[in-house]
Symmetry: C2
Subunit: 340 residues, 2 copies
């Protein structure tokens, strides 16, 4: 029986035998076709030379489809962005699918179409895959784990530990869009304007940024845990203090409204198409100008600065809208499980 | 609260915030320590040059712990072996963990210890990881997806499409051990001698084989779907017919007994530490001698030969113990879900 006959994933589709082959041919190969994947050996083979970046991300987002994206798009952009954050050009992606028995083949096809589209947008090739099927109730629909390989151009040294006192802190756009889009979808909250996830590949933006400034110290995409967590990670890895100005952080009205309703803080909400950059202060204005020319950086802004650690302690401070200055901690508990 | 305080994985351990950091430090980093992983940037950075092999495998095996291995060991050896099957030396591994809320931290520690041990045995470094936690009931314990990067030495060209008429077919040892070990564990079947999974990294065996013969055409590890499926894949990819001799295929008495009891065929049972090699017939005896010197090839045997396709059709035949000759098909349905 072909997958199309039944329209539901069966355990046999994960058996490694005939049904698996049919699923691969009818759903995957036709949508993700490239000469490397088409060899269908146990491993994909590529030619490369230089400094490689390697990364992995599991995607368990719920719901699978949301305004602005779906788990397929997210699984490509999430990994592409992790590569971009060390300055690497994304080249090759592998994808592992864990699917619950009974999952809709049509939904799987939509997801693979979306991965294919995102891969094209990001300029990455999906070169290897694996599919396992578990019994009904042993997983929630579909989980996708992607791993990426990219090439870092000579002379590029970007790291979370690179921030230095005096540097400027830049965000590429409005904060919390992805987290709030998922939250609204999940809770059935409706706003007048429909908020969408910002889910997007940032490789091109990063290349333009690296061309504009040789003094970018750190790049991070503030996904799970949001801007607050990412700032704390960089402060800690670099041994510095960071101070940001709440007023300067771009935040959409819908995001603020949803956060007020739910008591959540936009600064810990996930983003999937935004980045945080630490850059030498003399390059900051120029860098923001460059970023604003890219659709994914059009609302870029300088939001703070890096200072010395105080008594050996690294901290993040926020100057609030009310004018007070308080410590900004990383996210602690789990406010929104399965956001990505 | 640290993971050790509670001994159960909480949703917050997947939040990307403070609890995630504590889990990474207390469970992962201490066990998988290496300088590349220790940088803790969004992607790992390595230097490489040449033909790379890239592969991915999802692991959903149930039960998580079984005689001869566990999901941790399996997740390393499975990916290492896929790299070995294109002649690559395994170098770097990424691991994505999807964990069910409430999972035992002690079990997680055992699994990571086991991954660390298997990685050492295989000579591969675990350079990047990701952990997501889903609500109780949304996954079954833990799923691990590993992706591997390896380097293919100059002059090595191994592919499932390389088999030629006249070549010999070799298996590296007894067939069905992994599948039957899992089956017995799952069904509570007991045999006098305790059968163990063959779960092992085959990289060293493959390197020794490549040194012994420059005319190895195809290598495959017959995992899901077993020997029958792998033979059919190679026959189809190479456009040939393969005939094997049942009598010559090494099979343990316990495996035969369990298969007789359950009506399953050892030829479709999964293996996790065995390989199938297609080699020029003049090198076959020498290759088997070489393989037998390695613990993972000590029962290696020539089990068949490659012939021309018949009327354009590629087929696999088996000469049975009773002397008849029949078509051997690839596995069709799902006989043993979640075997790897």
């Amino acid at each position: 029986m072909s997958p199309v006959d039944n329209n539901r994933i069966q355990l046999g589709h994960g058996s490694g035998g005939k049904l698996t082959q049919e699923l691969i041919e009818s759903v995957f190969a036709s949508r993700l076709n490239n000469p490397i994947l088409a060899r269908m050996d146990d491993a994909a083979i590529v030619e490369l030379q230089g400094r490689l970046a390697i990364t992995v991300d599991c995607h368990v987002v719920s719901p699978l489809f949301f305004p602005g994206g779906d788990i397929g798009r997210l699984s490509v952009t999430g990994t592409v962005n992790d590569l971009a954050m060390v300055g690497a050009t994304a080249l090759y992606l592998t994808a592992g699918f864990i699917i619950e028995e009974g999952f809709s083949v049509l939904d799987l096809e939509r997801i693979i179409d979306s991965m294919s589209e995102a891969a094209m947008e990001a300029g990455i090739q999906i070169v290897a895959g694996d599919t396992k099927v578990v019994e009904k109730g042993a997983a929630d629909g579909i989980f996708i784990t992607t791993s990426g390989v990219g090439l870092i151009p000579a002379g590029i040294h970007i790291s979370g530990s690179g921030a230095r006192p005096g540097d400027a802190v830049i965000v590429s756009g409005s904060i919390g869009d992805h987290g709030v889009a998922i939250l609204c979808q999940r809770e059935g909250m409706n706003f007048e304007t429909s908020l969408r996830s910002d889910c997007a590949p940032l490789g091109k933006l990063v290349r333009e940024m690296l061309d504009a400034s040789p003094r970018i110290r750190s790049l991070r995409d503030p996904t799970r845990g949001g801007l607050a967590t990412t700032l704390n990670e960089i402060a800690s890895a670099s041994g510095v203090t960071i101070e940001i100005d709440e007023e300067k952080i771009p935040t959409k009205a819908e995001v603020r409204a949803a956060c007020e309703l739910t008591g959540l803080d936009p600064l810990v909400m996930a983003n999937e198409g935004k980045l945080l950059a630490i850059v030498a202060v003399q390059d900051a204005e120029r860098l923001v100008d460059t970023m604003r020319k890219n659709i994914h950086g059009k609302d870029a802004a300088i939001v703070g600065s890096v200072g010395h650690a105080e008594d050996g302690k690294t901290r993040v401070y926020i100057r609030t809208l009310l004018g007070s200055r308080r410590v900004l901690s990383m996210a602690t508990g789990e406010q929104l499980p399965r956001i990505c």
